[in-house]
């Protein structure tokens, strides 16, 4: 009897099991999805049976209740404000970072003089001066933008300088010997070589801007998302808190993905 059952199981189970295994081996993405589902399952079980409802809610109720987050008065405006802060901070970081990076990087002397200062400032834990930003720029969006810029600007400067500096001297020499003017050298030699590292800098700058703006939002906020994370934390509403955090995480991932795609696209010419 048991022998027959084993036979039956072997007949039914093995081909399927083998096919599943082969499928997983051929597509790591599938296994990755499985891991994600497993993690969500653990979260669901933990929230349902192990942890107090005041502190954690299961993913099923977070995602089914996500509309209540948007229905909370002010949340949509807060998300809009945060998105605006991110956009403005990023634009300012890119503009200043590019100008300063070119000014520092294009001349050997200015590079050697000012690069150590830039690196020193980059090495300072800017979070310690967050209270100063609030003191100078108030508790509104201006301080978030300024703090975001302070985080976003340095990676852009450093990568722009690196991009300008890493051009092979032979390219500059040959351009010069063929009679290129300074402007022509900049336009046709330095600029194309700078583009990939500029986009790499924009990607790092976006990470910095996200960090800076979110830190400042969490620190003090009257209308932005920081206000609502504090509100949901203090009123022990993990469902809404997790919903809001997920929305922000998706927003951050979207922004990161945009700059990453741009980097891949515009640095292609060098690898082709």
């Amino acid at each position: 009897m048991s022998h027959a059952l084993d036979m039956l199981q072997a007949q039914a189970g093995t081909p399927f099991g083998r096919r599943l295994k082969r499928g997983l081996l051929a597509h790591p993405g599938l296994a990755r999805l499985g891991v994600v589902i497993l993690l969500f399952g653990v979260w669901e079980l933990a929230a349902r049976f192990l942890v107090d409802k005041m502190f954690l809610s299961p993913p099923s109720s977070v995602f089914s209740q996500i509309h209540t987050v948007f229905q909370t008065p002010g949340v949509i405006a807060a998300l809009r404000i945060t998105a605006w802060e991110l956009a403005v901070a990023f634009a300012i970081s890119v503009a200043i970072g590019l100008v300063v990076g070119l000014a520092v990087g294009l001349h050997r002397f200015s590079n050697r003089s000012f690069m150590p200062i830039v690196l020193l400032l980059y090495g300072i834990p800017q979070i310690t001066i967050l209270p100063l930003f609030i003191l100078y720029f108030g508790i509104g969006p201006a301080s978030k933008i300024a703090f975001g810029v302070s985080h976003g600007i340095f990676p852009i400067i450093v990568t722009v300088v690196a991009g300008v500096q890493n051009i092979k001297p032979i390219l500059l020499t040959s351009a010069k010997s063929m009679g290129a003017s300074r402007r022509q050298i900049f336009r046709w030699v330095i600029f194309p070589h700078m583009v990939p590292s500029f986009f790499a800098g924009m990607r790092l700058g976006m990470t910095g801007v996200l960090l800076g703006v979110l830190l400042a939002e969490l620190y003090v906020s009257t209308a932005g998302i920081g206000y609502f994370t504090t509100l949901f934390t203090q009123s022990f509403n993990p469902t809404k808190l997790l919903g809001l955090i997920s929305v922000l995480a998706i927003m951050a991932m979207g922004l990161n993905e945009i700059v990453r795609r741009a980097e891949l696209r515009y640095s292609r010419w060098r690898t082709d």
Binding site: P28, A31, S113, I117, G123, L214, Y219
Partner: protein, 255 residues
């Protein structure tokens, strides 16, 4: 003028420019507070800040806060490095698990994890536990990713030749994998240490009961700006010292 002396002269000029930059900055700061009457609440006099700094250092009132922050940092970093290296090594053992887990971890790392701070405070409270947890979480990712990169992308020719010369598992690990992976792991540990420090200071600034970040916020809220500047200078000096120490250690270990 010889090439050598010209280079020396150039270096001297760079140093002079740097010194001038700092002097002009401090000069403007001094003039701004004395001549142009910027409110001392916004910008305290540099001399006053210097006296406050001396006071902080001589009375030793920083010791309690410094101890809390450094303890949090030590616990968070030891947890994240243990977990990161162990998990990274396990994942790196097969090409398949690298392909499954690495994009997942890299994707999580691209989310600003500081977003989860309110959640951590909800779980672990306002005390040191939430700082340790957030510091450990944030620094875990660069460590695990670098460990995977270090162990996972050792040139196969090295492994094959060691195997064909009859190396045991232990010998392969000790003499091939570890030397190849060690510099990359050190880089991960250095990055992890730096961002653990940053996130602990950050979470202390945002919501806490004690620690250096808390002290700065406390002084800011009391409008005691001169003392706050002194504390900021103190914390920046400590952070730079720690970062330089870890970079030096990492650079030495890499050789």
């Amino acid at each position: 003028m010889t090439v050598r002396s010209k280079r020396d002269w150039n270096r001297l000029a760079s140093r002079a420019v740097q010194a001038a930059f700092v002097i002009v900055l401090v000069g403007l700061w001094y003039l701004g507070t004395t001549r142009w009457r910027i409110s001392p609440i916004l910008l305290p006099n540099p001399v006053m800040v210097w006296h406050e700094l001396k006071d902080i250092l001589s009375t030793g009132e920083y010791i309690a806060d410094l101890r809390i922050t450094l303890t949090e940092l030590a616990i968070a970093f030891s947890r994240s490095s243990t977990a990161g290296i162990a998990l990274g090594y396990l994942i790196s053992r097969s090409r398949y698990s690298i392909r499954v887990f690495e994009p997942l971890l890299a994707g999580m790392y691209s989310v600003p994890i500081i977003l989860f701070l309110p959640l951590y405070i909800l779980f672990f409270g306002l005390g040191p536990a939430s700082k340790i947890a957030i510091g450990a979480t944030i620094s875990f990712f660069p460590i695990v990713l670098n460990t995977i990169a270090g162990f996972g992308y050792v040139d196969r020719i090295f492994i094959l030749s060691a195997r064909s010369m009859g190396a045991s598992d232990y010998q392969l690990f000790r003499w091939v994998l570890l030397p190849a992976a060690f510099p990359v792991i050190l880089t991960g540990l250095r990055i992890g240490f730096t961002i653990a420090l940053l996130s602990i200071l950050g979470s202390e600034t945002i919501a806490s009961l004690a620690g250096l970040g808390h002290r700065i916020v406390h002084l800011a809220e009391g409008m005691d700006t001169a003392r706050m500047f002194a504390y900021i200078a103190f914390v920046v000096a400590i952070a730079l010292f720690l970062n330089i120490t870890t970079s030096t250690l990492a650079a030495r270990g890499r050789r």
